[in-house]
Symmetry: C2
DNA sequence: ACTATCATTGTGAGCGCTCACAGAAGCGAG
DNA sequence: CTCGCTTCTGTGAGCGCTCACAATGATAGT
């Protein structure tokens, strides 16, 4: 199996072996028309025999494009972004692109610039940036990328840059309205870090939905997406004596901590307090009790992102769009009508 | 900010602007010695002014190496692999490598070959393959890669290929012995899919540890890593009438399903049945009750993988090693001495 | 028969960089 | 003052590929 020669196999080797010019081999590889099928077969055979693998560096150098997409990820520790990456990779592969990948520790202008500089050296055909955090970088991204098409994922709803987002406001509205519909009138919130677009949007929408229903917004605490953060936030909520029968929580992990905190105070879920999460992680269904939550379709987010990026690579001057994906409420057992007999 | 010229900036442009030859510019970029510091400053200035970004395709074509590592991931849906990717990226960046990334749907020979073919076209300097599933590919990987150094992550303990693994057997032993030490004598298991090295190793070790302690291995059921799988497995365990006081579970997600199943049968945790998970996902601490589990240090796995790969790139003919990372037991509240008064 | 057209193949140049080499200074030692 | 040495800079070639163009032979139209 290991016929090893020191030199790498090139187009020329294949050309020589199959008795044609290197250009013809190139044509075969790139599926150009105007190659006699008999010739094509001969070349294909030689390619296979020599185990020839085209050098993509040379190809992208000569062709001035690389069939490669770059992803700048942020928050890969969280379920959502990780999920997106998987589906971005899948969609990219299907569209014939390789994926080069960079994870930034924070969305500072400097970090972003560094990542993009590094990636754009690869002549990537397009860039997907996961930008869920509020930062001026989002608006400058286009100019930093200097001509390479960029799609933002999870940027603010209504932004003018090409992007794909989940309608966080609508998600929060679904959650809040669901509780209102159940009869709750005092509805608190434990939000994600307000530096995140999503957290910010959900927070505002929670408030707006309550006001629209003629209810006074309950207290709100800021968490950090982790279960521990949720636990601490609910403790802060509980300290002044909890005056609400339902809590809208920023994500499912925090909801886990919230449930713990509530139980430690002798409060039952959903009898005493109803809880709605956000994300619908696979485990949410198995929490105790199973968590009512707002499903974000991260897979769709990644997939649509790539599709839109590929579209823009084909037509970079088309007016920018923002693709919006609607979230969905998944009702389980952590929500119920308020128990008035308390 | 958009001073836009159509042509890309090259070494020559920088050379011209700073009044030196292109070679000198190249020397500055690559930190070669023997550049007068005055010259260096001038070049650096020009680079900055022109916003010059070296073309990595050209560089890797000329230099015959790319400063790029490839990751072939599998099972990115799971916490462990996703976690590894993050830390692989981090370590790669620190070592000065870019990362190109491919996720395979299954570890078939064909899929693996395809992925490697595609990646090796980039002249990657090294490959990291996450191969947690039993397959002949693992042993053939070296020959498929044709000279490019490969490190396997999560391959079988004791394999001869260069690799980094967690000592799964030891992990399972820790879990089982912990239960034995608590006084349990009838200890069941819900394993992961036995097609995975880890699941297989843990299964065998669970059995071995019990036998060594003079105990008869309780029943064992195979799960699929998901909470639902755990739930179903525990139902199968419960059907014949559960004859054990403790269960070693293949991962934390399944443990979640197992706890649900147990509770539905009126069994309390840990009073009636003790549970040990595996992985220590961040949420495990917040499960109800907090889960005793075996921590795998996925971060270390990824980091060590990259470090070892870089080392092998430097010295490809060094004898292969297998780096082993020890897991650790995290005791929480899902385990307790058996309750004899039942 | 003589061009017009098509399918098929080949040739030159160059993408932006690094390598190996060669030259031009500067400086103390014999 | 010539030699060897170190420090600095420049030149040629070529990495493996694609592009634009030209050239060939076959087929058809008039």
């Amino acid at each position: 199996m290991g016929a090893s020669s020191s030199r790498r196999i090139t187009l020329h080797d294949v050309a020589e072996r199959s008795g044609v010019s290197y250009q013809t081999v190139s044509r075969v590889i790139n599926d150009h028309p105007y190659v006699a099928s008999e010739t094509r077969d001969r070349v294909l055979k030689a390619i296979h025999e020599l185990d020839y693998r085209p050098n993509k560096a040379a190809k992208s150098l000569a062709a001035r494009r690389s069939q490669t997409l770059a992803v700048i990820a942020y928050g890969m520790d969280y379920y959502g972004p990780a999920q997106m990456i998987i589906h971005i990779e899948r969609a990219a592969k299907r569209a014939g692109y390789d994926l080069i990948f960079s994870n930034v520790a924070d969305i500072s202008r400097e970090n972003m610039r560094l990542a993009i500089n590094s990636l754009s050296g690869w002549q990537v055909d397009g860039i997907l940036a996961i930008t869920p955090v509020i930062s001026s970088v989002c608006e400058e991204l286009d100019s930093i990328c200097a001509g390479t098409p960029v799609i933002q994922i999870d940027n603010p709803l209504g932004a003018s840059e090409p992007s794909v987002v989940v309608d966080q406001s609508y998600g929060s509205e679904l959650a809040t309205q669901h509780l209102i519909d159940l009869g709750h009138t005092r509805i608190a919130e434990i939000s994600g870090p307000l530096g995140w677009h999503g957290a910010q949007a959900r927070h505002k929408s929670w408030r707006r939905t309550l006001v629209r229903a003629g209810l006074e917004p309950g207290p709100s605490q800021e968490g950090d997406w982790t279960a521990r953060g949720g636990y601490r936030a609910v403790q802060r909520l509980l300290q002044p004596g909890l005056d609400c029968t339902a809590i809208v929580v920023g994500n499912d992990q925090m909801a886990l901590g919230v449930m713990r905190g509530l139980r430690e105070h002798g409060l039952r879920i959903p009898e005493d307090v109803s809880i709605v999460g956000f994300d619908d992680v696979p485990e949410a269904e198995w929490y105790e009790p199973p968590l009512t939550t707002i499903r974000q379709d991260f897979a769709a987010l990644g997939k649509r992102g790539v599709e839109y990026l590929v579209e823009r690579i084909g037509d970079p001057d088309a007016p920018p769009r923002q693709h919006v994906i609607a979230p969905q409420i998944i009702q389980r057992l952590s929500t119920a009508p308020p128990c008035f007999g308390r």
